[in-house]
């Protein structure tokens, strides 16, 4: 089982790496980070702050975009191109296929984020001429971004297991947007009564909560993120991702392919 899982994971990673689109996106982000100090010159005194905001926001946002971009085709492309036929005739279980694909994309995103973070720190070094302890704490934001990727990949994979790429992209992006103002959703739910209140509360928990994972402003102003916040958010992200991936497995398990 593990050798099949790792084979599918690595192959998914390899496919993403050989996809030239990925390089364009990464290049774009690196360019963005490189030009951020210029932006800071218009806004006096906040060069570092602007660079941190641009850098961390780019790592987060573009990671999500890549997760969606590649995620929508993870399963549907294999069905469309019928490359799945020669996979399913082997001892591969359908759930192994789904989980392997998930892990492969997550691996891609983590490697991506690492590269962008390195570029970001280089830009930071160039602007500030030396790095301090507070610069190291910025990594917490990157870690939380990776937690976002875990959840976003699971969501996109879920849609990919039964829907076409275009709809998957729309639904996934919609869920991301709603997820960023999950706090508002919770407030609406708290303020509503009856059935609407129940529905909204349910929605507030079903939708991925990205609001609590965005700590960029905090770390930019060198405010510490408490350890238990990190712990519980990690737990939430892992559990949510596992649940959604299980959903994808369920959908895919008895699906008649074309």
């Amino acid at each position: 089982m593990t050798s099949r899982l790792s084979a599918i994971t690595l192959n998914t990673f390899r496919e993403a790496v050989r996809d030239r689109v990925l390089y364009n996106l990464v290049l774009f982000v690196l360019l963005l980070v490189a030009t951020a100090p210029l932006f800071g010159q218009i806004s006096i005194d906040i060069e570092r702050l602007v660079l941190v905001n641009v850098g961390l926001s780019s790592i987060s946002l573009f990671g999500v975009i890549i997760a969606i971009f590649i995620g929508i085709g993870l399963v549907s492309k294999e069905i469309e191109k019928r490359t799945l036929y020669t996979i399913l005739c082997r001892p591969v279980r359908r759930w192994e296929f789904i989980v392997g694909k998930y892990c492969g994309l997550v691996m891609t995103l983590v490697v991506n984020a690492t590269l962008m973070t390195v570029g970001f720190y280089v830009a930071l070094l160039v602007t500030a001429h030396h790095l301090t302890a507070s610069d190291a704490r910025l990594l917490v934001a990157v870690y939380f971004a990776i937690l976002e990727f875990l959840m976003m990949t699971a969501v996109t994979l879920l849609f990919s297991s039964f829907s076409t790429p275009i709809f998957s992209a729309l639904f996934a992006f919609a869920l991301f947007v709603i997820g960023t103002f999950a706090d508002d959703l919770r407030n609406f739910a708290a303020a509503s009564q009856g059935v609407i209140g129940l529905i909204l509360t349910a929605a507030a928990y079903v939708v991925p909560n990205f609001a609590s994972l965005n700590v960029i402003s905090q770390v930019a102003h060198d405010q510490p993120v408490p350890g238990n916040v990190v712990l519980f958010n990690t737990l939430y992200a892992l559990l949510y991702s596992a649940a959604v991936t299980a959903g994808a497995v369920l959908i895919f398990e008895r699906r008649n392919l074309k």
Binding site: I8, R14, R90
Partner: protein
């Protein structure tokens, strides 16, 4: 133990706005294939051949029925170590090279890493792709892809191999080479189940064939037997209608058009028949031996008839 045992396997697609109309793609199928047999699954396009194979591979799920492969339930993932599949007009991950693809599939099929590389190299040589190196599959021609397809079907040395239209889209040279490959597998004692609509291929390779039409099994037979049923006849054409009376006892069929007569007779009776015609001073036009072909069997089974159980 049969290599493949299919019992009442059927598939209906539900169509229409409310998905209520049942469109039968495969009517209940009963079929067995023995170990070491090369079994041909014949039928025109859309007859249900690919549906059957997809059902057996677990790509789609049956409406009813069951099947066993090498004694195990056909959905059991463990027997998939021992079966290989070449889909129709296969498509592979075009960003991989041939060795990478085979290595990936070998891993998934549980081929141990020791010696895997050599096995892949040897296999690529065997299917005539020894010199492709690191070229990505997106650059392969159709014929090359078909060979990769066969390679991936046998990389893990399965006992039973399923091929869906293995010759489709190949030029005559390609078809010849694929035929040779299948013959080689046959010689190794593998069980081969392949679907095709090209009868000459089935005739050359198969021990037994089944004919399927419009989702229904129409007949199963041993190739040699089917062939010989229409073998041993000769067609004689001459001018001199008066001579017919003298040879009518040898004629199984006769047609007269003006003064030209066309007769089909047993090859054994050819000599006395020709003697008689000479005596009658008939003018011979042609003497053509008829070889029985699968085609007749096929055509007879795919005309509108009552279905025959195997």
């Amino acid at each position: 133990m049969h290599a493949i045992e299919i019992q009442g396997l059927s598939k209906n697609y539900f169509v229409g706005f409310w998905k209520k109309w049942a469109l039968p793609a495969l009517k209940p199928l009963d079929l067995t294939v023995e170990s070491g047999e090369t079994f041909g699954f014949l039928g025109p396009n859309g007859a249900g051949k690919t549906t059957t194979l997809k059902l057996l591979m677990g790509i789609i799920f049956p409406t009813a029925g069951a099947a066993r492969v090498l004694g195990h339930d056909f959905h059991d993932p463990e027997i998939k170590h021992k079966i290989g599949f070449l889909p129709e007009q296969p498509y592979f991950y075009d960003y991989l090279s041939a060795p990478e693809l085979l290595d990936y599939y070998a891993q998934l099929s549980g081929v141990p890493s020791a010696g895997r590389k050599q096995r892949i190299g040897a296999l690529l040589e065997r299917v005539g792709l020894g010199d492709v190196g690191k070229k990505q599959l997106r650059k392969f021609s159709k014929g090359m892809l078909q060979r990769v397809g066969i390679a991936q079907a046998i990389i893990h040395n399965p006992e039973v191999i399923f091929l869906d239209e293995p010759m489709s889209g190949l030029d005559p040279l390609g078809r010849h080479e694929v035929r040779d490959l299948i013959q080689g597998l046959k010689d190794e004692g593998k069980t081969i189940f392949f679907s095709t609509h090209i009868l000459s291929d089935a005739e050359a390779l198969c021990d037994r064939v089944a004919v399927i039409h419009k989702g229904e099994l129409r007949g199963v037979g041993v190739v040699n037997d089917l062939r010989s049923s229409s073998a041993g006849k000769t067609e004689v054409i001459w001018q001199g209608a008066h001579a017919l009376a003298a040879v009518v006892q040898y004629a199984m069929e006769s047609h007269v058009t003006g003064d030209t007569v066309r007769v089909i007779a047993q090859t054994e009776s050819l000599d006395p028949l020709l003697d008689r015609l000479r005596q009658q001073q008939a003018r011979l036009v042609s003497v053509t031996p008829l070889h029985g072909t699968l085609e007749e069997y096929f055509l007879s089974k795919t005309s509108e008839q009552e279905p025959v159980r195997a």
